[in-house]
């Protein structure tokens, strides 16, 4: 049934699978106890400093695990994993924390994970259920609520990590107004420049995903991080190979059809396009004409519901 990979092409699936494999393989490798290296990530060393300052001032540490559009997703999970570390440091110093959640899924997960952190530290009595709060699941009501909290509680440190959109600057400037140390990171690249402008420390791009590995040094996370590096190297190598292939294609191959928007020219031989390179064609196959497959048919009284004709 190989021809059924028509839409994506078998090579694209293979390529993706290789990346998946390199992540899983490195996780397995790290679990077997091989010690592995991670480079320094500047923003993360600031966590202890920020919590320490909050302790001195006796003001809370505010953490915002970002928006996630519907329910909880991998980005907010990663943010909560980082906050688990922050909460652990805060618990040891008995510094008050405030986790502001955007939706119920995040709320439930944070509630559980932060509670566990306090329990593991043997400080369950210090845990206040209301330190993890649901604010609102409307983006700007959330922004208004969180910035109100930051201003009123005069937070000494603020962590904004996860999926942030336009509210990033509202939160960051509110925290700046009360003089809080801010460590921020957005998985949305478009928000990073605003965090750079307004915050003290910013994690860029997938430093966010590297953070939990860097902080906790759990073998699984470190292994995964190395697998991710393999993936990035694979992409770089593929791009380079494709560059060679594409360059080769435009220099040597010819094509007879040329669809350049409206300028359709057929029959005259032309230089091939870069997309005609071997690797390019393997990753994104040329669309074929529609095929028909003969199959036995359902009788009309067995028609699946969605296909009754429209109109009245």
């Amino acid at each position: 049934m190989g021809d059924q990979y028509r839409d994506t092409g078998w090579f694209g699936v293979l390529f993706t699978t290789f990346i998946v494999f390199s992540i899983l393989y490195n996780i397995a490798r790290a679990r077997r106890g091989k010690s592995l290296f991670i480079r320094r990530i500047a923003g993360l060393n600031a966590i202890d400093e920020a919590v320490g300052r909050a302790t001195e001032m006796g003001k809370p540490v505010v953490m915002v695990p970002g928006l996630s559009d519907t329910t909880v997703n991998a980005k907010s999970m990663q943010a909560i994993n980082i906050f688990a570390y922050v909460a652990r440091v805060a618990a040891r110093f008995a510094t008050p924390i405030l986790v502001c959640c955007y939706n119920s899924g995040i709320y439930a997960v944070s509630q559980e994970i932060i509670r566990d952190v306090y329990q593991e530290e043997g400080l369950a009595d210090r845990y206040d259920v209301d330190s993890v709060r649901f604010i609102s699941d409307r983006q700007f009501a959330f922004a208004a609520g969180v910035s109100g909290l930051i201003l009123r509680e005069r937070a000494a440190a603020a962590f904004f990590m996860g999926e942030f959109y336009a509210e990033s600057l509202i939160l960051a400037e509110s925290a700046n107004t009360v003089g809080a140390i801010q460590v921020a990171s957005s998985t949305e690249i478009t928000q990073t420049p605003f965090f750079i402008a307004a915050c003290d420390y910013v994690l860029i791009g997938d430093e966010f995903y590297a953070a939990s590995a860097y902080l906790t040094r759990q073998p699984v996370l470190v292994g995964s991080l190395i697998g991710q590096d393999w993936g990035k190297l694979t992409i770089a190598l593929t791009v380079l190979l494709g560059v060679i292939g594409g360059t080769y294609a435009i220099h040597t191959q010819t094509d007879t059809s040329w669809d350049d928007k409206n300028e359709l020219v057929i029959g005259l031989p032309h230089r091939a396009k870069p997309a005609d390179g071997l690797l390019q064609r393997l990753l994104i196959p040329k669309p074929e004409a529609d095929v028909k497959v003969e199959r036995p048919q359902y009788s009309p009284d067995e028609i699946p519901k969605p296909d009754k004709g429209g109109g009245s």
Binding site: G145, T190, F194, E207, Y214, K232, K273
Partner: protein, 246 residues
């Protein structure tokens, strides 16, 4: 005061109330902040049923009769959706110290469904990006820039378009260097001993700043537009058209 003007006035008062926080946190802002949070929570509760559960769950579970569906044909009911109710409610055990683990079951299902999609999502999103990054780098002609094609025949235009000119090749090389430098900046597990890689990842940081600068520049456009829109609401829709009737 007519209804439209009353409604506009409500909006203007609320907006100005929120704006007062720009000066400092105050009682007026606090009032409007809580109104806002209350309305948001109320609205979530309304659309919980009206926009999601009613059509997405209830109607599928109970089906429609011919009378209810206005002649468009009855549809069958799928009663087994009812089993989702107890499973969904398991989430509420989170407040119980003993059974809070159970809240992880519905969340586990959601996270599972989310994470299962990541592989295909990755391929759909990034493979076309990888392919379009494979830009040719050796020009096919020595003419530096692309000549104008206006007024030429289709064949001649196509032949010109098919060439790679040195100016484009240089752009493509810069593109590749940027891409690879940025990628190398985000390698975490390599002890950078090679000078070339070290240099590249430093370049990567500078090139990132160009990218961020460009993002900042184009984002500012939107942010200001939204402010202008509010000013339009206040000055034109409310003050000029509503109060002054111009």
């Amino acid at each position: 005061m007519d209804y439209q003007l009353f409604k506009l006035t409500c909006g203007v008062v609320a907006i100005l109330g929120l704006y007062t926080v720009l000066y400092r946190e105050n009682k007026f802002y606090r009032f409007w902040e809580h109104v806002f949070l209350g309305l948001a929570a109320g609205y979530s509760m309304v659309f919980l049923w009206s926009e999601t559960l009613k059509g997405g769950w209830w109607d599928k579970m109970v089906g429609t009769t011919a009378e209810h569906a206005n002649g468009s044909g009855a549809s069958m009911a799928y009663p087994f959706y009812a089993a989702l109710l107890p499973i969904g409610l398991m989430g509420y055990t989170v407040f119980n110290k003993k059974y809070n683990w159970m809240s992880r079951v519905p969340i586990g299902i959601i996270l599972g469904l989310y994470s299962g999609q990541q592989i295909s999502a990755w391929q759909n999103r990034y493979v076309p990006n990888i392919v379009s990054s494979m830009k040719p780098v050796i020009p096919t002609t020595l003419e530096f820039t692309k000549p104008l094609t206006k007024g030429l025949s289709k064949e001649a235009t196509a032949a010109i378009n098919a060439n790679l000119y040195p100016s484009q090749a240089i752009t493509n090389i810069i593109f590749l260097v940027t891409l690879l430098s940025v990628l190398s900046y985000f390698l975490f597990s390599f002890d950078v001993k090679s000078k070339i890689i070290h240099r590249m990842s430093l370049n990567g940081r500078w090139l990132l700043m160009i990218g961020f600068g460009a993002i900042f520049g184009s984002t500012v456009m939107m942010r200001f537009t939204l402010l202008i829109d509010r000013m339009y609401f206040i000055w034109i829709e409310w003050f000029k058209q509503g109060i002054l009737h111009r």
